[in-house]
């Protein structure tokens, strides 16, 4: 078999071969520096949306007609984790076209799905690659893959393997049987920690917009914008804003099980109000010569933290759509009302400063 060196974007090139031999490219189980660097970039930026491998058939080690077949997504990180965990084994990997999205999310969207798998099995001519009828799908792919239809349409029997690729060697040794632990998806502190950059990142993208409004609000005078007022009045609010992002997108996800209540909105609000209270200690009451801005801050920022914390439901492994819908049904009107109310309070504060009221 021709050997393709696995580079940034491996191509499952059909290497010229004798009749009946499979066309697949060889993939290493070792990670290069680029692979490690790529993983870090995926964890912190939208680079992840462009981190793809080409769909198709790949070989790990020296697989033959009896070797196992594993299926994964074409998000390169998914593929990389699988090939790393298959170290020392001889196996085939089928990469589905999931538009560069991981197995679980793609299964939910249907791209890691029954039709794509059927088409891919036909495209790579799997019948000619192996002599058995076992195909191992990551368990979380079961959301999108219907095992019965796959068997009816392709003859291949779907085995739902372990949730985590690291359990694959033990799963094979046990005769394709999962322990109950291998079936469960976990969400420990490290799992949560690696997800937080992609919570902070989108929240911080909105921060300049928030900052601009704050500076205009505090700087505006009947005579025009005063930079000194904008900065002095706005600074505590900018700090409160940064704190809301930090609390909602980092602290709440990290401490998730230790914060009381099951609702993410409530968890975020609770940590938010504690943080606002703690920060208030740093501001002398005479700073604004009025209580109004502080009241507005007490209303707005814990709820900002709550809203940001609620976004984390998208990254967790245990929240349900019905639960998030319920949170939003109550939450969205509260967020909108509270934002309007805080704005109103600040406007009253400004008008009282201008001695209009």
């Amino acid at each position: 078999m021709g050997i393709e060196k696995l580079s940034f974007s491996p191509r499952p090139l059909g290497v010229k071969k004798a009749e009946g031999q499979p066309a697949g490219s060889k993939a290493s189980s070792e990670w290069t520096c680029d692979d490690h660097f790529g993983q870090i970039k995926c964890r912190i930026s939208s680079f992840r949306m462009r981190y793809k491998v080409n769909p198709g058939l790949y070989a790990i080690g020296e697989p033959d007609r009896e070797s196992d077949i594993f299926v994964t997504a074409n998000y390169k990180l998914s593929f990389d984790i699988l090939r790393r965990e298959l170290r020392g084994l001889n196996a085939w990997i089928i990469v589905l076209d999931t538009k560069g999205i991981n197995v679980w999310c793609a299964a939910g969207k249907g791209t890691f799905g029954t039709n794509e798998l059927i088409n891919r099995i036909k495209k790579v001519n799997l019948d000619n690659v192996v002599s058995h009828k076992r195909i191992i799908i990551p368990q979380l792919g079961a959301v999108g893959v219907n095992a019965r239809i796959i068997q009816q349409r392709t003859g291949f029997r779907v085995y739902f393997g372990p949730v985590c690729a690291k359990d694959i060697p033990a799963y094979i040794r046990a005769g394709y049987v999962k322990t109950p632990e291998m079936r469960l998806v976990r969400f420990n502190m490290l799992d949560r920690l690696v997800l937080t950059p992609m919570e902070i990142n989108p929240a911080m993208k909105k921060f300049p917009f928030f900052g601009l409004i704050v500076l205009i609000l505090f700087g505006i005078q009947p005579s025009g914008l005063l930079f000194k007022d904008a900065w002095e009045g706005g600074l505590p609010f900018l700090i409160f804003g940064l704190m809301s992002v930090f609390i909602g997108a980092f602290i709440t996800p990290l401490l998730l099980p230790f914060i009381p209540f099951r609702s993410f909105a409530v968890k975020g609000w609770l940590t938010g109000i504690i943080a606002v209270f703690a920060l208030m200690k740093g501001i002398e009451l005479s700073y604004y010569k009025s209580l109004l801005p502080l009241v507005a801050a007490y209303i707005f920022f814990p709820l900002a933290s709550s809203y940001i914390a609620l976004q984390f439901t998208g990254s967790t492994t245990f929240t349900s759509m019905s639960g998030v819908k319920k949170e939003l049904k109550i939450g969205v009107p509260v967020y909108l009302t509270a934002t309007a109310l805080s704005l109103l309070i600040l406007i009253i504060y400004k008008l009282s400063q201008w001695r209009v009221i």
Binding site: A107, V143, V145, L184, V185, Q311, M321, V324, K326, L328
Partner: protein, 98 residues
Amino acid sequence: MKYIADVVTLEFFQEKCTGCGKCVEVCPHGVFLIRDKKAFVTDRDRCMECGACANNCEFGAIRVNSGVGCAAAIINGMITGGPPSCDCGVESGNNCCG
């Protein structure tokens, strides 16, 4: 960790169950177990509505309203009036799904 109680749409019709155990095999939260050759729901509040069980139950014994469960996707759905969608991809600029 458990999410909000009594919200999930998971329905299990035990009379249709043959005890094949597919639901036990695919559920990532151990919601199903087999007892007396039939599946049963151990803890409904652990269900995250991923839909893997219903998708793979050959006997129609499980029904669940599954869908993209992130807040951004649901707010998107509220605005567009369509189903929840995070619309992840290079084109949309959204990147919640890695």
